[in-house]
């Protein structure tokens, strides 16, 4: 879906992005993770040409974005940013309709689309349609920002630290919501964050950047494998690396194929090993029952196996 | 910084030199204004006019600064908040009346000379000082005042050692505007008989002597630009 081919961006002598080659598969959430100044936002902004690469090229669906007219390109790519950037003098509905109006959709189609999107991001259309941005909470505003990015049904979304300014609770809600919306719409999402927890919750693919260079990439479990790159160890924290790794591994894989005893706490088969660990600590037990589900025959998870996996 | 001061001093020296040379450059004026019989301004010395101009405008700015600062301090005390509406009203009314109108209105009451100009100068120059000082004092963060009270400072101590120092940059900017405004308005005062660098302009206009007008205009503008430059330099940090 997106291919960065040896792209760099230099300001004077300083390379903000340094020869990055990366492929983002269609339909996945790819998280660009790094500290501030690592070049993750700059890399992302090359996709919709808000930043032009000094070297290399960016392909979307096999086409070089440098060949596309910038405004037309951007109308075909959803864009969500940390400061949300809702236009303060327009109502919620008008804000969501920005791109459809630029594309010249009919009024009726726009109105229908706006209501569908508000419902999709979990806001009651009747209550929120006619509000002004200053009448929204931070979380509500970012939901509208997400709806606005989805308005013209672009196949690709760019999200630049969209939840970083929100309270922790609201942030977790919106992460769950985004995964849900992703599951329903199958968009390709390029998501920039500095928050490792957020990265692990969302990422299908993870790309870790440091000083403009790609330090690691792959599925989260791969990136966090023992003997991970020095940058990764530092970013995730040396002492909690194992804990984060448990979060990337499915619990079902380690369950022994034996019938569970009655009375054991029950863990859903889709849960991660981190969730299994938390449940064991909470219940004070060293075994958990994992009931049968599609493609999994059911079994028992043992403390000893879990410790070995970490 | 030192180089800028040296440059400024050089400019001031050039200004004084030009004032000295003006009555001696009859050839230049004759060449520039061929049709005029007496192109050289000889009624008064340019240095006397400069001195009068500076005394009037700087004196007025000093009075206005004192009044403006006192009013601003009063208006930002808890009890003085009630004066705010009056200050707002004075500001918006003063904007509607040009200084020359005040000079003209004061003329029948105070007579020809420097007095009507001084009145207008004090009125108009105190406004930017007051506005700047009110803005500066208002902008002192409440947390800072709270901390000052917490350390046991009295109200006068807070004003002198916390509020005024913090507001000083804005107050100084207001003072700079006041001085520049004073120098400009003083020149207009020539129409009411105030002796200043504007006098040759007004006299020249009355007599159709463009050479006097040009000389007065050049020196008045030069003084204003010089004063502005000097104040910006003195207040830069």
């Amino acid at each position: 879906m997106i291919r960065f081919e040896g792209v760099s961006r230099r300001y004077g002598d300083r390379a903000v992005v340094d020869r990055v080659t990366l492929e983002v598969p269609g339909g996945s959430i790819c998280v660009l993770l790094g500290e501030s100044g690592s070049g993750k936002s700059t890399l992302m902004r090359m996709v919709n040409r808000l930043v032009e690469p000094s070297a290399g090229r960016v392909l979307v669906d096999g086409r070089d974005v440098a060949q596309a007219e910038p405004e037309a390109l951007r109308r075909g790519i959803g864009y969500v940013i940390q400061s949300v950037g809702l236009f303060p003098h327009w109502r919620v509905a008008e804000n969501i309709a920005t791109v459809p109006r630029l594309l010249g959709w009919e009024a009726a189609r726009i109105a229908e689309r706006v209501d569908a999107l508000l419902a999709l991001v979990g806001l009651d259309p009747a209550r929120f349609r006619d509000r002004f941005p200053h009448e929204l909470s931070g979380g509500q505003a970012q939901r509208v920002g997400l709806a606005r990015a989805l308005a013209a049904d672009p196949p690709l979304l760019l999200m630049d630290e969209p939840f970083s300014a929100l309270d922790p609770g609201t942030r977790r809600d919106l992460q769950v919501e985004l995964r849900r919306i992703h599951a329903r719409t199958g968009k390709t999402i390029l998501f920039v964050t500095h928050d490792v927890e957020e990265a692990l919750v969302l990422a299908d693919e993870l790309a870790v950047l440091e000083d403009g260079r790609l330090a690691a990439r792959g599925r989260p479990a791969q990136v966090l494998e023992t003997g991970a790159d020095r940058t990764v160890r530092r970013l995730f924290g040396e002492e909690s690396l194992a804990f984060h790794r448990l979060g990337t591994l499915p619990a079902a894989r380690l369950a022994r194929p034996e019938d569970a005893e009655d009375g054991l706490p029950v863990l859903p088969a889709t849960a991660s090993l981190k969730q299994a660990l938390m449940l064991m600590l909470e219940q004070g037990t060293d075994r958990l029952a994992v009931p049968a589900e599609a493609g999994f025959p059911g079994g028992t998870l043992h403390w000893a196996d879990l410790v070995r996996a970490a | 910084m030192r180089r800028r001061w040296a440059w400024l001093l050089a400019q001031a020296a050039a200004f004084l030199l030009a004032l000295w040379a003006a009555p001696r450059a009859e050839g230049l004026w004759r060449w520039l204004f061929p049709g005029i019989a007496r192109p050289v301004w000889e009624s008064q010395s340019w240095f006397v006019l400069l001195g009068e101009h500076l005394m009037l405008s700087l004196g007025a700015a000093a009075i206005a600064g004192t009044i403006g600062l006192a009013a601003a301090i009063l208006a930002t005390r808890p009890g003085g908040q009630r004066l705010r509406p009056l200050l707002d009203a004075v500001f918006s009314l003063a904007q509607a009346i040009p200084p020359v109108a005040v000079i003209a209105l004061a003329l029948p009451l105070l007579g020809f000379g420097a007095a009507p100009t001084l009145l207008a100068l004090v009125l108009y120059a105190s406004l930017p000082v007051m506005r700047g000082a009110v803005a500066g004092l208002d902008a002192v963060p409440p947390a800072v005042l709270d901390a000052a009270r917490g350390t046991g400072m009295g109200r006068a101590g807070i004003l002198a050692r916390v509020e005024l120092p913090l507001a000083m940059p804005v107050i100084q900017a207001g003072l700079r505007v006041a001085v520049v405004l004073s120098i400009a308005t003083t020149a207009v005062g020539a129409v009411a008989g105030a002796q200043c660098l504007g006098t040759p302009i007004v006299t020249g206009l009355a007599n159709g002597n463009m050479a006097w007008v040009a000389q007065g205009a050049v020196f008045t503008a030069w003084l204003a630009l010089l004063a502005d430059r000097a104040l910006r330099l003195a207040l830069a940090r």
């Binding site: 950037g85 791109v99 | 029948p108 020539a190 302009i201």
Partner: protein, 397 residues
Amino acid sequence: MAPRPAALSARATPEAAAPPREATAVALLAAGAALCPFLLGWLSVAPNRLLSPRPAELPMTPAVGPALGLFLLGCLAMLLLARRERLLPWAEAAAALALAALLATAGLGARAALEGASPLARAMPAAGTWLSMLLLALAAGSCAAGRGGTPARFLLLSALGAAALLAAGLLDGLSVVREAAARGGEIRAALGQHLALAGGALALALSLAVPLGLLALARPRLEAALMAVANGFQVIPSIALFGLLMGPLAALAAAFPALRGWGVGGIGPAPATLAIAAYLLLPLASALLAGLRVAGPGLLDAARGQGLTSRQVLLRLRIPLGRGVILGGLRVAAVQAVGLATLAALIGGGGLGALVFQGIGQLATDLILLGVLPVVALSLLVDALLAALQSALEVGR
């Protein structure tokens, strides 16, 4: 200020019962306005146009009495009405009533004072009356301070009141009104010239400031240069700038006589318009740039990221969000233009300043007033109109 009865303050909630912030200033000004004429004199009478006026008693005729009573009543009403937040607009109206009654008192008093005197004798308001008018205007301004500072209601009602008094002939005794009647045509012509000067300068300055401001928006060097030039003009005293422009323009007209047909010359409206326009550059350009920057970086990033073109960003985002600030700059510039146009008369540009300078030359107060009063009225009118437009736009947000 009488203390409130204990029972009342005990019953009412503190917010409802507390007088608004404006109350103190209005009360002081109202009291001052009522006292001033009694302390500093109502009327002055001069035997003829050349001799200086002397203070005169206010003749207590049956006509003057009610007008005086109405004036004092207006001052009292203003003081009392200003003690309730929601009655402040009415206090403003009371100030207009007091002003009209004061004018009527002075006019009727002047008529009575001149009765039996020589036809050359002239009567005019004394310092106390003038000061009282100033205080009433400030009181009205204080009432309006919470709503943007322009006492539009007071200005409108006072203008109507003064017009009605003039039409009824009640002010005919005042020397300034006689002078105005004698010079009606001259005043109208001067007003027209004044409007042309101010309007022409504003149009000229706009035609420079708008394109340059738009260009400077994304070019820091151009912005620095534009601001340096605009600031420089503000520093140069207006009278010097007028003088400086005369020489070059006279030379230009001498070199190209065809330009004279366009009004270009060292003397006349052309240098005046140019000089005024130069002063308006700073308020116009700085407000334009500030207004266009109300839409912050985050907003612009979001807009560009969604594919708005720079033209769409300007028209749909920058201008709608910044129009209040931009209009504020226009308001300042327009008021300045009206004031600066007064000086145009110095270099033969005409306008109301011609009356003022003629009056200064003859030390004739009435003539000065005939120039100054329309200037003040005009700038107040322009200010009030643009302020109303500004607040209408803010509400439309």
